[in-house]
Symmetry: D4
């Protein structure tokens, strides 16, 4: 429906003014004192808004969690601390916290998962970032297969899992240090590889810059990269791809 | 079929030694003097090997082009110069060259395209990179919708095209300077945005680093980034996503 | 009055030697043991000197605050800690402290504000920097309109406020991560946009460098940028512009 | 006028559909094959669109210049080469070119200039960037006072011009190498200083990065910075400020 | 005396073997378990070895302090903590500690100072680095004139001290943030300016990198730069210059 | 033995299926919940897998240590903290810890060492990294000669040890700050110099980047560089070289 | 023989003065107008001095080549241009030039090569750097096995050559772009891997910085890295290792 | 004489108004169209102004050269090209040009030189920068001793010249690549070392950044650093030191 049609219909009375207003307003949000939660984001992008807990003042965090459960029945927060968990639990007893991924969430039961995303890590120290990716993808409805500690220093470990990896609709490759894992995987699969550099490393790894540059400069094709330690972002885009592959885009 | 099965079958005679060898060899290539063209790459990844023309010595370039046409009936090369076109044309008269995307290719006729990829640019100077992405996606079987010059300095131009953009299975956002285009788009679509920073800019753009950092640090979700000016890489991964969405993965 | 005139008048007796000395001395300061407070700065630039509290030794801080109130009746300090507030309060009971902006000030009552500065943030985490800008502008006599959490990931929130934004004489755009907010705003207003990158972000945001580069490289016009997290500097220059627009330059 | 009002008036017939469409469309542009010239930019921002000539293909450049003169009677382009001048002159004989600022323009006669912008440079090598700023400001209606070669290595030259500098509504400080000029000036004036780092320098100046960092980190207040060598951007924002000061905002 | 001469004299008996050995050995040191204190450094360079206290294990620090007093009657250490002072004081009651410069030393009484070094700072936060420079120069026999808080944001303060500055044999200019002080001073004096960037600043000062680049790229002549926060290094080289000027090189 | 041979022998019964499987599997690892210890690494590379203790969760660390002793009779861990030592000691009383090198190991008695590796440091602050290198080399069977505190500021100390240095099969040069030690040594020996930049330094040393660049850019030949503070990596490769020189490669 | 012994013997007449002088002089060079060729370098390090041709003025180059052949019968120069070859050939007809490695040399016939160095490249564009390494190693007496175009994007090509690679005493891994090749190889061999980053790549490869950081941060052990494009340096250190392994150190 | 005295004397008639004006004006310059030559710089700093020829437009260059000879009888320009020499020679036949240092000058005959500056280089490629330093120092009246090609890869060459080096009042150390020369020298002399990093190098030397960081981070004392390739700056400050040592400061 084009703008002219809307207006024609308003003139003719086919459309009420409120319906037309909704059309032009299109997207909206809820005005709060300190924030503008994008409550209709799910309609627009297919994903509910997510809370980045790190650094949020206590009172803000609790009221946001309460409001989001109230409105959508669920809430999903990343980078939450143990202390934030204790705090929120007092108000929302059913909340759950995973100390590895640092995800603090309240999730409906009986949700169905589809498709197949593989999340790989180069080492064990990359697991927290990988779990953030995996849990994000699962919350948004994807099946996830975790394959950890398959870095290139002992590449036979990776090859022993190649059959599983080749079954995915999307592979998330999580690696710090020199980050070579993504290049090796993407040379062997036909689906997109979402590369996540991590800040694991020391010396000239410069907080993950080394792995980021490696992934951006990959000689292999079919790789795209997200920010350092951004497991959430990788789980999100992997879910978008998985949904497209399953025909469950929305 | 697992390795043990193969061996059981060899023992029992169900499988010939040559069949078994092929199983273990799995992947292969052709040994040349100066290179090892990965002629079975299409079987493995769903994409034929592509030629990066820039800097290739003349005799290498011509012989590679001839061999690839011989073996697959097609050849697709990026970053080719006018001079390289003239050179190859002498040997392969049917070769075609596009001076904007710098793609030098020989393509079968009657190929079918599926799905829907949108390629956007912020400015007109980003078009060469965008065309490399678009032509790559088309060569590998995707429908492409080009929407150019919709940068955020005049954001109404972008919004006027939003309906088209929202119909894509994947959006490729190509931008130099501050590279904000990708963030704005990915806040409005439900599908993955492949961000391509370009080296367009001056001063503190540092050859595209500024746009790269913008895209990697995007506050919006559903973005993953490829290398600066890497239109080919973006067209490749967009095609992978498009194929998954169309169920034509391979 | 030119130098020659001054000297002519000294010779003729029209001007006393002390008046002439004042002319040549022009600008001055007060010599203290550890610092040279620029007590005549208000005459020269239209702004009283401001105290950067962070890292100041306790005894220095208290004596500077006391001296400035004594001389000008007011004092305005940035980046003060809770502890510094407690310390100064003992000596100056009327002092006020805002834990968000971290501003510690003693302000005359009944001051008049003029004009219209809009201060926007991309997210809620950018609010402390924005409040530093807003409070600075207010202290120096500007009306300020705060519009927070209107980042480009949900750009409809920004557009819903565009009417207010377009009424400003100057817009301060505060954003971390990829910092795209300033570009989008400046494409839609006819007044200067002062861009403030913040250190909000993680991974490849490199303490605000990413947002800084974005703002410096903006494809839109009418943007100039201050240092990372420098809310004070933005509020200062916005006030200069606001004063010029109101004809209250000094 | 709010959206609801527009719709009420459409319903009642007070507003034609076309008037309402115009309201909602708000901003527009002209669709060309290779670009979307933002022809209504002057209405929106108070400045006509400007052509960045560098790197534009010949045929594009000429057709853009012709179209813009056709529509607005004027055209203003930056970073034009001698060759581009020769090319455009064939089609538009009245075009003028300044080899220092590299500005290629067609300007109406009898335009009135208002206000007072001072453009300073540290050295003679910074003059091309300064001229780009000055000519931009003049084209858009500002009076400009040029004060060149007053860098801090011989600071008495700067002080001899301080009276003129202090009369400006806005000062543009253009400097390469260590870029200290902006700090010194802004300590002495009550109006905004727009700092322009230049790529003049060698060794560790890293193409202007050194001057950029100096200006961003200035210990003085009332400075905001634009991109390296971005004289146009400085002239643009200085004009915005000058217009506000003169009450000729639009 | 050349090597051949030495050998001729050994042969002839003019020189004892031990004297000849000393000739060839030339320079020496004392072997300890964990270090090789360069006890003859004063003979070679005119300066006794100095202790960098920061990070030294407690037992090492005490034994080095004791050994050096034993051998030379003095000891001079930089970057000492309050705790290290308490520790050393137990063994060496006469030791003195300055909490601003963080210098922990035992110095002979009645030492004579010569010449004239001026140490300037841009702000009060630069004073600790400046004091390290000043105390170093004094320990090694230079007269020092401290002129603090004369940064370019209020440049009249600097000019009011210019007479004193112009009397120095060497000026040490200590500044953080944008570090412009060194350039301004060196344009006004005929003697070397040793520039010391400090880590004072925030945002894009990157721990002093901004000030370092400013000083290295200075448009003024007669500046050379030492490491960020390296007050000791500046005091050392200023002393070398001061000694040369006084004819007291050694 | 080629693949075909293996298969021929399986067919003929000369080789059991399990033997053949082992051939194709070639390399292997042990699947654990959180990691894939590469237990056959010694067979493949001649070095048992080493534990990077830093950041390992307590329960993981203890179980890994126990499993490795169980399987190989030894375990060698780097970057262990005092606390980790206390923890592991409770389960494995015979474990030993060196607070300088931070190595936590259980080593068989009576191991033989061969060859000659020299480990040099520029200063005493570089000793922890050097000890990590030396202890690694000793654990893997190399004789090590430690020569510490021979930096270029007092180069006679280095020359006094040159005879010892020239006897090595490989020299490890450990230096922070400007890292010049490696260049000087490699100009004087005929064997490889493994350069280890350290994070010792301040200001513009940028956490070891300065020393790393120095070593990578060395004008001398026969230098190769490992990561900043990577004593382990240097000790490892020095052992590889030492083994080759002794004919004890494996 | 210690210094004292030498002197004792001079005294006793056992040693002539000239012999003693030679002892103390130890190492020497030849004084020329513009250079100090290190003609005794072969005695000291086991390698004759090599000429870095790039940028050498014509007359210097020719006279150096002539002098070195005169003195040692051989000369070996790197980074020579076609033009330099033509120039030198006029004076030294027997000189040979390889346009791939850019090596310009005069070599004795019948030299024997020992040992086994493998030189691998990731792509064909890395071959010039690899050839510089290989030719250097061959000139200094090593057998070299070239294995090119085995990058990780098609890792089966690398594995098909693993048997050859595992036979080397030292592997040189040459790679640009993301440089992952070195990590993969060093996980599979027991000998040192000398990693050579190349400037092959584009965008965020930053002239080889990306590959350099990858190699420095490798998660695998037994890697040390030389400068970007420094094939010569890699060939040199590989030869040192090969000599040690063959017992032909000198 | 203080300002008050001047004024008292004006009042009493002791001082004419013009004399007083001169006092307050103090420093001056000559206003030209495109520049403000600092013609009294010699009075202020002891050095006449120098022309940075690189990039100067032809007509400017010639008129500046003519004006400076006219006023001071001499002119000294750096970074002049062969073409600029030809150009200037037409107008000023007595001009001389040195293609190595790229200095274009007209110098009075019979000037006296004093003192002793040593200028060292690491390699022959550093000579142009060293010559710029040496010629600058000579033009301003210093004796210079050139010692070239004494880099640390063959450190015996440096030691053979140590006697000469130790006789200097100031040493200029010029080095590219890893720039270790300055550290080694300053450990052996008692006078200041002015370090000049050069852009000589390749790969990770990043245009001289590597050498700059080395020199700034030197573990030795008595080093201060100028910009990359800034031979002029080094010669200038070395002359300042040399003059102080000779008592010929001005």
């Amino acid at each position: 429906m084009q703008s002219r049609d809307v207006l024609e219909k308003v003139k003719s009375g086919e459309l009420s003014i409120d319906e037309a207003l909704a059309f032009f307003k299109k997207r909206s949000f809820e005005e709060m004192e300190f924030a503008k939660p994008d409550t209709q984001r799910e309609l627009r992008t297919g994903f509910a808004e997510v809370v980045f807990c790190q650094g949020k003042p206590d009172e803000y965090l609790v009221s946001i969690y309460k409001k989001m459960i109230e409105e959508t029945g669920e809430v999903f927060g990343t980078r939450a601390s143990e202390q934030q968990y204790e705090l929120v639990k007092k108000e929302i007893p059913g909340i759950t916290y995973d100390p590895v991924s640092k995800i603090l969430k309240y999730e409906e039961t009986g949700k169905i998962r589809t498709g197949n995303i593989v999340v790989c890590t180069a080492g064990t120290a990359d697991i927290p970032v990988a779990e953030e990716a995996a849990c994000t993808a699962e919350f948004f409805g994807s099946n996830v297969n975790r394959i950890f500690d398959v870095g290139v220093a002992g590449i036979h470990r990776l090859f022993s899992k190649m059959d599983s990896i080749q079954k995915a609709y999307c592979v998330v490759a999580v690696a710090g240090m020199e980050g070579a894992l993504a290049s090796v995987i993407s040379g062997m699969v036909s689906v997109p590889v979402v590369a996540v550099p991590t800040s694991v490393g020391y010396g000239a790894s410069f907080g993950g810059l080394s792995a980021l540059l490696t992934m951006i400069n990959s000689c292999a094709n079919g790789i795209a990269t997200v920010n350092i330690d951004n497991g959430f972002g990788a789980g999100y885009i992997a879910t978008q791809i998985n949904r497209l592959a399953c025909g469950t885009e929305r």
